[in-house]
Symmetry: C2
Subunit: 252 residues, 2 copies
DNA sequence: TCGATTTGTCCGATATTTCGGACATCGATC
DNA sequence: GATCGATGTCCGAAATATCGGACAAATCGA
């Protein structure tokens, strides 16, 4: 990433990259002075850059309280990206359809390095938002989909690939490696995976694998639902996921 | 905008802004040398910047044929933007629901300066994509929605607001100002607007206004369909648009 | 096979952008 | 009403990022 040495003079573009990554991590409009402090950028430099970026609509001044956040240009460029990647464009259709027809939150997920992340998220009809952190990296063992996304690796490869600390959940519990490997084998066998109360005590996640022609899992499509969702309802959702995943696997 | 004087030395960030705007205009992966030529940026500078941007995932090398296009980071930042703007977040739900339930392309549109643009686009079930130019500026008179978005202005204000050349369609036909003003009055009266064969001979567009508490049209929600769509089908779609627009107007 | 064109890397110089700090406003708090 | 902190602007100096051009490698075409 754009590593900006503290105290040293840096290129504007590196400062901007750090700024945007910072806003994405915070996920909330932020005051300029805070950005300067937290990214280690001189105050006068941030003001200068923010003015430029606001002019270009990359950022927007919010609320009139001196905070800035992403602007519309990011949405336009992001849409161009989505449209340009075949698999993702198709996945959009599947995810919206699943979410609309079932009424629950549906997602499309991939790996980014040794982390899992949500690429597409379509919220369901529920009031309370069960999650929606597009582009936020999460340890692989914390997720249902993660169990599918590494299912082409040997146990040794998995051990080398996933950082050891990623097996510790946010609440401090540890995921036993043997169980994790067992989950993976079982998921590959069944063609889907389901986890409950992993990151969040009251949430169940169901996922199906999207595979490339070689059979390798390159993405997953999944539902995020309350843990007390009826069993037959869950079975229906798993079937829908498998059908969507199969369409995406075929379409190449 | 980021105006980069030809021949002069420019800041990296201004070069990057020009580069991204250029890619957005082209809407296709582009070779680095072409970017250099068309944006007036020195070749060595573009290579340098592209490397930095690829590393940050703002851009992606495509195809292995030396072209670059937007990368996943743009999608993440764009999603953050969509989630952060209340009206747009709600509009997403309406647009996806309209598109899913009716099976036709639905859009959410706003003004950007004196131009119209599509903010959200959800394609219908048809094979041929009838349009989807998110974030591309279009002259107001070329669109159905445009007739709603200026309906709070007097004829004089409209004349001052819309550039004269914007009344000429891509095929050279001219839109008579009197008819345009008549359309606007009629649309405000009816609570919706419909145009056929404006930009595209075989396309009909229907739109309903989203209004702020003061009654001013701040956005529109619309369907884009083939011109030969049945009349009763169109009537049903207009009702659906009005209902969605009303929900968005109320939700403040 | 051999030029012609394109693509990508590298390097040194200098025009310029970043940076620190000073300063003026503004609001809140006591 | 005085003090403190936060916000935003401005300026000169110097560290350095941009740029032009040279060069090698790859690709193309005839």
């Amino acid at each position: 990433m754009a590593d900006v040495k503290t105290g040293a003079r840096a290129r504007g573009i590196d400062r901007v990259i750090a700024l945007m990554e910072h806003l994405h991590r915070l996920r909330t409009p932020t005051r300029i002075a805070d950005i300067a402090r937290d990214t280690g950028t001189p105050r006068s430099t941030v003001y200068e850059l923010v003015n430029t970026l606001v002019e270009a609509r990359w950022l927007e001044l919010r609320d009139g309280d001196g905070t800035v956040y992403f602007g519309p240009a990011m949405h336009y460029y992001g849409s161009d990206y989505l449209d340009s990647v075949d698999l993702i464009r198709k996945a959009r259709g599947e995810v919206t359809h699943l979410s609309e027809s079932v009424g629950e939150t549906a997602q499309f997920c991939m790996l980014d390095g040794d982390k899992y992340l949500v690429v597409l998220n379509e919220p369901g009809r529920r009031m309370f938002r069960l999650s929606s952190e597009i582009g936020i990296k999460v340890p692989i063992p914390w997720t249902a989909s993660g169990r599918l996304l590494v299912d082409h690796m040997t146990p040794q490869e998995i051990r080398a690939f996933i950082p050891a600390e990623d097996f510790t959940l946010p609440d401090g519990r540890k995921i036993v490696e043997a169980e994790f490997l067992h989950d993976i084998a079982q998921a590959r066998e069944a063609g889907f995976v389901r986890t409950t109360a992993l990151v969040d005590r009251f949430t169940t996640c169901m996922a199906a694998p999207v595979r490339d022609p070689a059979g390798r899992c390159i993405a997953t499509i999944c539902f995020v639902v309350p843990a007390d969702t009826e069993a037959d309802q869950q079975a229906m959702m798993i079937d829908a996921l498998k059908a969507s995943a199969a369409r995406l696997s075929g379409a190449r």
